[in-house]
Subunit: 217 residues, 2 copies
């Protein structure tokens, strides 16, 4: 299929018009510009000034192409490390680090999840999380729950905010709806009529979750 199956490393006969990496890079750019739906093999070929079949020769097919991009992103999560003094702070640092990396690839994060690669993606950080959770005094199933709860919370949060961010105009925005009807607690209604501050909400909710998980019992 691809040129990786060549057993003896031999100099290329002719200067290739495109390389596998060039295709991946162009695909990444295309996705960043137009979203995943905007990634078409023909557009990719046109942008590289090459016929469609060349793309197929280099990366197999569209599915494999996207898989490759996903893999690249997953490997970007390998370097996460905890910082801070107490376990809660260290787990929080991991969580915010995860969110930061995930938000750098807003288009790919959904793909990772759709491909069921969430566990694989989280494995490196899962080790780090497990280590911190263990040093916080948790063990066995309870510790595993804590690790997974943090993982689900972080990626779930990013999945939600990914689309909440970029919704240009909500049909009836939650803000309007809260202001339209009088509620019992005016202060609460006013607060809920405010646009979501994702950074703060993530900090608040994650800290609450982590603190509760680590100090439970």
């Amino acid at each position: 299929m691809t040129q990786e199956t060549a057993k003896p490393v031999r100099a290329p006969r002719r200067a290739p018009a495109v390389s596998r990496q060039a295709v991946l890079d162009a695909a990444t750019r295309l996705i960043e510009e137009q979203g995943v739906a905007g990634l078409s093999m023909r557009k990719l070929a046109a942008r590289l000034g090459v016929a469609v079949t060349s793309i197929y020769w280099h990366v197999g097919n569209r599915e494999a192409l996207v898989d490759e991009l996903v893999q690249e992103m997953v490997h970007g999560l390998d370097t996460l490390a905890a910082t801070g003094s107490d376990p809660v702070a260290r787990v929080l640092s991991l969580a915010t680090g995860l969110r930061r990396v995930l938000r750098e690839h807003p288009h790919l994060i959904g793909l990772v999840n759709e491909r069921g690669m969430t566990p694989a993606m989280f494995l490196p950080s899962q080790r780090a999380l497990a280590s911190e959770v263990a040093s916080a005094g948790l063990a066995g199933p309870r510790a595993a729950d804590a690790v997974r709860a943090v993982q689900y919370h972080v990626i779930g949060f990013v999945l939600v905010e990914r689309h909440t961010d970029r919704s240009p105009e909500q049909r009836p925005s939650a803000e309007e709806l809260w202001l339209a009807e009088p509620a019992a607690d005016a202060a609460l209604a006013g607060a809920l009529a405010t646009p979501v501050d994702a950074d703060r909400l993530f900090a608040v909710s994650t800290e609450a979750l982590v603190r509760a998980l680590l100090t439970k019992q």
Copy 2:
């Protein structure tokens, strides 16, 4: 466009081959069977024994069709009510109710989020959540944070588990990877090598989050 614009209610000249509702129902069935990607206008027309243009006449276009389905689901969330005695239990009942309804429409939940309709979808339950949070003693921005944190947590959890469930074979499953390398805490590693019990994980993480949010300070 559609037949809804007929001002005087007049008996149909001829018995229509399909109705708008029949199209919506068939689309729902098609999506449940083959996923959102399996919903094509031609398949829909063929299943109804009708030409493609009839579908367009009744529902406009594919986007509008899906929007309609999403709206139907959103309205399914109107009837959620809290049960239980203390605020924590009542909020948890809302959260589990939300998750239950969302899981009944696994294919649509992603669409709702992609369309940026998550706020609108959650508005009814948001009122209920706000009421419970207020009666727990929280007010103003802090209460709003609690409400939104629960929302993000629930929908994020469902978004994650939606695809974690049905991944047939993970490339390297997290289970294998944990068993392959020896870890510091054998019990933790063993627990993490176990498949995720989503129901239990949801209960544990949500209770931890809610309890922390409601008793903060």
